[in-house]
Amino acid sequence: MTARRRTTIVASAWLVISLTASVFLLRHIDRLRPQATIDDALYVSSPKMVKRGSLGFDGLMACIYWTRTVQYFGHRHYNREQSYNQLAPLLEITTTLDPQLIPAYQFGASFLAPQPPNGAGEPARAIQLMEFGIAHNPNDWKLYYDLGFVYYTELKDYKRAAEVFDKGSRVPGAHPFMKILAAQMAEHAGDFATARLLWSATFETSHETNIRQNALEHLRAITVDEDVSQLQAAVTRFGERTGRLPASMSELVGAEHLVGIPSDPDGDPYKLTPEGRIQLEKPEDFPFATKGLPPGYKPSALPRFHTKL
């Protein structure tokens, strides 16, 4: 028995050592080649070629490419990269392999159209992608939403957006807000309420983490913009009444009968500068805000999802 015992012990020891070493080495190798998968994936960047190469396992390959797409985006986003060149091909391949992979279209709407560093900056390709999706999934109202979304947010083509939302609202089972959005586009496209509705809709209807975080950041920005506008208007009114600027926020609050010291969504009070401007305490925490920014403020060139869901 002793010889066998010895062999068992040695073999078991080797098993454990090699297992540990393999895992350790693998993690190390991963760090040496972070983008390898994506580079490999796009040695074949033509969707048709990929489809042919899948030997009929399109669905599986679509899932694999979808996983890679999300990884790609997340990885670059986390590393503060400023471009997403491969995002469009990846999404195109994914949807060619499986035109019914709806989350891919939503991802494209959120991240293909916006300009860097928040997205790939390819609104035209985003439109193409949405239209491809609609062609293959005519009964999915969400795709109309995504298309309208792109027209609204990036292209600011409110007329087209209204048309699309309207069309989408007629799809059986469409969410009621489609009709509302269609109506809003016509008259109140630039309103905060419309924007809020849109971004809330995105937040509610998506399950994908990146999309939801993006939507949440936009909603926060809208709140800020709204607050700052209102506060700025209050300052103006004060000025018209008293002929001077308010000395402090408290004075403004008292004079205009505001409820308490106004604060931003993070709880920091808005500042009133001597020049009468309303400003955020920490503008860098609100990447999409357009108001309340100090003069000459350059938003960080790096995209950042500040709030963790």
């Binding site: 010889a3 066998r4 062999t7 068992t8 073999a11 078991s12 080797w14 098993l15 050592i17 090699s18 297992l19 070493a21 393999s22 895992v23 080495l25 693998l26 190390h28 190798i29 991963d30 040496l32 080649r33 390898a36 998968t37 580079d39 490999d40 040695y43 694999i64 996983t67 890679r68 999300v70 990884q71």
Partner: protein
């Protein structure tokens, strides 16, 4: 006579068995045919003949090597038990673990020799389409080296399964692991997207599965991208450790097996 001699003896015998197995030659012939076909395919798509030859040729070497490894490897232990040749071997002063290790080296040796011949085919085809060799072509040797590392892993896995399961099942397991292992990177990506218990399972599986995606540098080499020395070293170590792991498993199982 020492243990090493016995291991070498078993290894050479395994090698001899493989070489005399006619199936091997059919597979090699087929692979060479495929390399030849690459030349014709390359003629059709001008400008990328070289790319096609390298891609298709190396893929053929890799794929057929895996098939050969599995084909022969699965029978390594189970065939011997079935045919009772094992009994006369183990009635001699041969340790069970020496048997496993010897079989492994015999199989690995077969594949290395096999790869050598198929590589000549690939280089031949390359010379034919490109009319000369350039320096970046040396990268093909690196790709072949990585393919051999893949073979080591596959051999050890085939042996592992052969030590306890029937030839058919072993083939199924080994081939499945090869396919899954080729998508190991994606498996880890997938694991990253899941939460909770699934995440543990997926991550565990992702690390346990042989990582053939890191060892597959065919595309990179075809596009003449060089590979860092660190990467080569670490991949070598990974392959060696993984092989050791599978072999240890095979030894542990085989030591305990009642050979009815």
């Amino acid at each position: 006579m020492s243990m090493n001699t016995r291991i070498i003896n078993i290894a050479s015998n395994t090698f001899r068995e493989a070489v005399r197995d006619r199936v091997l030659y059919n597979l090699i012939a087929f692979a060479l045919l495929l390399t030849g076909a690459a030349i014709f395919v390359g003629q059709i798509s001008i400008d990328i003949e070289r790319l096609v030859v390298v891609n298709l040729g190396l893929t053929a070497v890799s794929l057929f090597g895996v098939i050969i490894a599995i084909f022969i490897g699965i029978g390594l232990v189970s065939k011997e038990i079935e045919k009772r040749t094992l009994y006369t071997v183990l009635s001699r002063p041969v340790r069970r673990w020496e048997f496993i290790v010897g079989k492994f080296f015999g199989l690995a040796g077969t594949l290395v020799v096999n790869t050598f011949f198929m590589a000549i085919g690939v280089f031949g085809a390359l010379l034919y389409v490109a009319h000369k060799f350039t320096r970046p072509d040396a990268l093909i040797l690196v790709a072949l080296y990585f393919i051999i590392l893949e073979f080591l892993i596959i051999c050890s896995l085939a042996l592992l399964f052969s030590s306890f399961s029937s030839p058919l099942l072993s083939a199924v397991f080994a081939f499945s692991l090869f396919v899954i292992g080729s998508f190991a990177d994606d498996l880890r990506g997938f694991a990253g997207l899941t939460h909770g218990f699934m995440r543990w399972v997926a991550t565990g599986a992702a690390y346990l599965v042989p990582n053939f995606s890191t060892l597959n540098v065919i595309s990179a080499v075809a596009h003449q991208h060089s590979l860092g020395g660190q990467l080569i070293l670490q991949n070598t170590l990974y392959a060696l450790f993984y092989t050791a792991m599978a072999l240890s498993g095979a030894v542990l199982i085989f030591e305990r097996r009642n050979l009815k």
